[in-house]
């Protein structure tokens, strides 16, 4: 049954190496035996945050992404502090040498422990993720006391330690990392000078003007910036650094030197092992090197002639590699990345993407400058698309711009909107413009990117297909409109999926057809429906919805097969995240008594209930109850079930009404109690939360309930339907105004029955009322336009009559093990049978 695991050796334990392993584990946890070589003696840490370690705002321990325990927990063997030196492709073995404790992990000549045994690991596949090392421009005197690189946690420690003995420090390199190093040094009380060879700072991201602006900002912080300066020699006196000699003949006094002048891929292991290496290790679109069994990822890679040093492209490479190597998607391809970054340099917001200068005569350049606030915005538009952009000091629209840039989409003709947001206040953003990482489905955490992928690659062109593929829209459902817009944006039009209209996915009938078939054939159990209407094919995703419908159609006669019910309806309690349950006794109209409260308190004490909480529905919730305690608790409570766990009538809240309230116009408490007595336990397509209010001040929030009654002057009650105050907020629609409690009960019941019969499974009343229309509902329910009012009244009465308190099952369980804890298997018989099975 178990195929032997293939062995994967990952060389390099930096961000790329660890990330690719995570991606692989996500796709196929048990496919590979994974061994990693990491030259640094740590787990993997977030190099991006190194400057925070240097400036002391984060402890080294805080930036670890995968501490050593992670490797253990995931069954990954890590050779920490061991540098892989060669891949013997003949023998399929990776050979590594333990490094000396103080060796510089990325140095070409990092010293190995003399005479230490080499580490050898056989492999089926290798991933090279050796990353890069800092580039040191040619100069005399670099190396030894007082000179540093800025690349690893050890570098940070050593820089910080040495800075204590210094007054002046210089940073060679005015790129992003150089500036970060300067910022870090400043916090250690030294005078900092940045030396940059180019005429400006951050030449990869900024144009000259924004470079100058950034320079001004930085100099105001007390850092000296010198551009067009090339260091030729580090001059020492008595073993300590004294000054720098520069190419233009000038000198600069300094006590220490940090070099941060860019990076170069680490490729030695690939070269000595005979793989193709150019500037970096050459990989194809599947991240394979010139050897089919050896892949590479990250800063060591040269892909289509480009080397990437930013996180996003490398994450994309890691995903592709994981897709390919696990065969999760054997055809996955990485096609290169467009470069854009959003970052904070020394506290200054910066976003930069694409080109920094126009390169064609037709390029349109839009610039806004506000030197007093240090704000600079520039846009290069080519063929109505963004070829490049710089936002310095204010980056509000960076997300949108980045999205447009990355997706190569046409931009607004009002360029100002792109830099400042829309002047009309309308969102500049259509769903189309949202960045890929924007979360669309907040319940299931699905990003726009994932939905886009499902549309474009998964060919899901209906909302339900998107849901099936990504889970988007399957929580509260309020994002379904956005999903439909995304489908329109990326696929042209939303396909109306016939299956979207099925009542449940496993029975190909719309609700009305299904109801007709069930009635005609007299189907009273879920298994009978599968047998007769689904070709005998049992569909677990359809069971619960069918059970609800059957109970509605056959009050008192329904054959309650508990396997067709959600766990909550099997044990009449609401399952919690830890597998315990919540118990909510019914408190009619939100009115309780000292005796009831005392019993609830006694039960909570007796069964060690970890939490007792007031619910939003004016009752008490006992949370964290063990399953086997449920029947005992119900017996001790002696109060009926509050049905707080099922798709049914839940509660009827009330305000103080007329007994005590100075403003009360109608007896909302009495009415609420009558409503709750009558409709308790009535199942419906989704839950129904009700309320009554004694006056239009709406203290019980009646206007936003599924069904409600509000007392108004003149001894009248207004009945509202379709209100909501959950994920969706909606004021209910006025159905009609009546005089008596009996009338309230009659019309509420009639609407309930109509909703029970026509609502889609899991369609709340607020969707139902909007879908059908309040006018149509009023005609049917109030004016009896279809002549079914009497039948609706009779059917809801049957449902009311069929009510049985489910907590009565405390006495006699409905099925074996209903309230059973996991059964400890007493091992009755153990047979050593060498794999043969009876």
């Amino acid at each position: 049954m178990n195929t032997p695991k293939q062995k994967l050796v990952v060389i390099g334990n930096g961000m790329a190496g660890a990330r690719v392993v995570e991606e692989i584990l996500k796709r196929a946890r048990d496919r590979f035996e994974i061994v990693m070589f990491g030259a640094e003696p740590y787990g993997n840490y977030n190099r991006i945050l190194l400057s925070n370690v240097l400036n002391g705002s984060q402890a080294a321990a805080d930036i670890f992404m995968n501490p050593l325990a992670w490797y253990r927990e995931n069954g990954v063997t890590l050779h920490a502090g061991v540098r892989a030196t060669r891949i013997d492709r003949q023998r399929k073995v990776v050979i590594g040498a333990p490094l000396k404790k103080d060796a510089l992990a990325y140095a070409v000549d990092a010293a190995a422990v003399p005479d230490a045994a080499l580490v050898e690991e056989t492999y089926d596949y290798v991933i090279i993720a050796t990353g890069s090392r800092p580039f040191v421009p040619p100069m005399e005197g670099f190396g030894g006391t007082g000179t540093f690189l800025f690349r690893t946690i050890d570098d940070c420690d050593q820089i910080a330690e040495y800075a204590k003995t210094c007054k002046e420090a210089s940073v060679i390199g005015g790129g992003l990392l150089g500036l970060e190093a300067a910022r870090g040094l400043m916090t250690h009380g030294v005078e900092v000078t940045i030396l940059e060879a180019a005429p400006q700072l951050m030449i990869a991201q900024l144009d000259p003007e924004s470079g100058q602006m950034l320079r001004d900002t930085i100099e105001n912080m007390g850092i000296q910036v010198m551009c067009e300066k090339i260091t030729t020699k580090i001059v020492r006196e008595d073993g300590r650094i004294k000054r720098l000699d520069l190419k233009d003949g000038s000198t600069l006094n300094t006590d220490m030197v940090v070099v941060s002048a860019g990076i170069r891929p680490i490729t030695e292991i690939a070269s000595v092992s005979g793989l193709t290496v150019n500037k970096g290790i050459v990989c194809d679109d599947q991240m394979r090197t010139s050897d089919r069994n050896i892949f590479a990822v990250g800063e060591c890679v040269e892909h289509r002639g480009k080397i990437y040093g930013l996180v996003d492209p490398i994450w994309d490479q890691a995903k592709t590699l994981a897709d390919v190597i696990t065969e999760f998607n054997p055809k996955a391809e990485y096609l290169g990345s467009k470069l854009g970054t959003k970052l904070k340099v020394m506290g200054v917001e910066l976003a930069s993407m694409g080109e920094t200068k126009p390169s064609l005569p037709e390029d349109e350049v839009v610039v806004y400058r506000e030197p007093s606030r240090g704000v600079y915005k520039k846009l290069i538009v080519r063929e109505n698309k963004i070829a490049g952009a710089i936002l310095l000091g204010e980056t509000d629209t960076a997300g949108v711009l980045m999205q447009m840039f990355m997706s190569n989409s046409a931009v607004s003709s009002r360029r100002a909107d792109l830099l400042f947001g829309s002047s009309t206040g309308a969102p500049v953003l259509s769903v189309f413009d949202l960045p890929d990482h924007a979360q669309i489905c907040n319940c299931n955490g699905v990003s726009k990117g994932a939905i886009k992928e499902a549309i474009q690659i998964g060919k899901c062109h209906s909302v339900s297909k998107i849901g099936g593929c990504t889970k988007a829209g399957l929580g509260c459902g309020s994002c379904k409109t956005l999903i439909a817009q995304l489908i329109e944006a990326y696929a042209g039009e939303v396909v109306d999926d016939a299956s979207e209209h099925y009542y449940v996915p496993g029975v190909p009938l719309e609700k009305s057809q299904l109801v007709a078939e069930i009635r005609q054939r007299g189907l009273k159990s879920v298994s009978a429906v599968f047998r007769e209407l689904a070709g005998g094919k049992e569909c677990p995703a359809s069971k619960v919805g069918l059970a609800s419908l059957l109970k509605t159609l056959w009050p008192g006669e329904y054959d309650d097969e508990r396997d067709a019910r959600f766990i909550n309806d099997r044990v009449h309690a609401n399952i919690q995240k830890d597998g315990t349950f919540s118990v909510v006794p019914r408190i009619y109209g939100g009115v309780t008594s000292p005796a009831e409260l005392r019993r609830i308190a006694d039960v909570a004490v007796k069964y060690n209930v970890p939490m007792v909480k007031f619910t939003g529905g004016q009752r008490l919730d006992l949370l964290g109850v063990k399953k086997d305690d449920l029947p005992k608790i119900w017996k001790d409570l002696g109060i009926p079930s509050g049905h707080a766990y099922t798709k049914a009538f839940r509660t009827c809240k009330s305000c103080v009404g007329t007994d005590f309230c100075r403003y009360g116009l109608g007896d909302s408490i009495k009415l609420a109690q009558e409503i709750e007595q009558r409709f308790q336990g009535i199942e419906s397509p989704h839950k129904m939360k009700l309320a009554t209010a004694g006056c239009p001040r709406n203290c019980s929030e009646a206007y936003v309930k599924d069904i409600s009654a509000v007392a108004i002057e003149g001894g009248l009650w207004e009945i509202y339907i379709g209100g909501a105050a959950g994920g969706t907020i909606r004021k209910g629609d006025l159905l009609l105004t009546v005089k008596t409690h009996d009338e309230v009960l009659k019309f509420m019941g009639r609407f309930m029955q109509y909703y029970r019969e026509h609502g889609k499974y899991l369609e709340r009343t607020y969707h139902f009322v909007e879908r059908v229309g309040i006018e149509v509902i009023r005609k049917i329910v109030v004016e009896d336009s279809e002549g079914i009012a009497a039948r609706l009244d009779a059917d809801i009465q049957k449902a009311v009559d069929a009510y049985v308190d489910p907590w009565k099952e405390a006495e006699v369980p409905a099925y074996p093990g209903q309230f059973g804890a996991p059964e400890l298997a007493s091992v009755l018989e153990v047979a050593e049978n060498n794999g043969r099975f009876p």
């Binding site: 298994s527 399952i575 298997a825």
Partner: protein, 104 residues
């Protein structure tokens, strides 16, 4: 090398309600055993890899189970999950003379 497997008798089939699952603790490990309406038996690890929901409490049928916490689905034969990279261990199980025999 021959691999030795253990067969464990979990007791009467009747302990599991028709169409449902039930959790057994075998040697400290929680194992969910499912008794499908057509008579087939299945066994998987009890805990959902997503948020450790008890699969034995899930709705099962058609060779699948739906976790009661967040509706992640798993194939009861292969253990394959509906979500990226999620799967559960599955075990061989059968009924002999009305008793459940689990193979570990």
């Amino acid at each position: 090398m021959s691999t030795s497997t253990q067969t464990i008798n979990l007791g009467s089939l009747e302990a599991i309600a028709l169409g449902q699952g039930r959790c057994f603790i075998v040697g400290g490990e929680e194992i969910a055993v499912f008794r499908q309406r057509d008579g087939q038996l299945f066994a998987t690890q009890n805990r959902c890899p997503h948020k450790q929901g008890p699969l034995s409490e899930g709705v099962a049928g058609g060779g699948k189970v739906i976790c009661p916490l967040h509706s992640h689905k798993f194939d009861l034969v292969t253990g394959a999950g509906s979500e990226h990279g999620e799967c559960v261990k599955s075990f061989r199980v059968s009924a002999v003379n009305g008793e459940i025999l689990l193979q570990l």
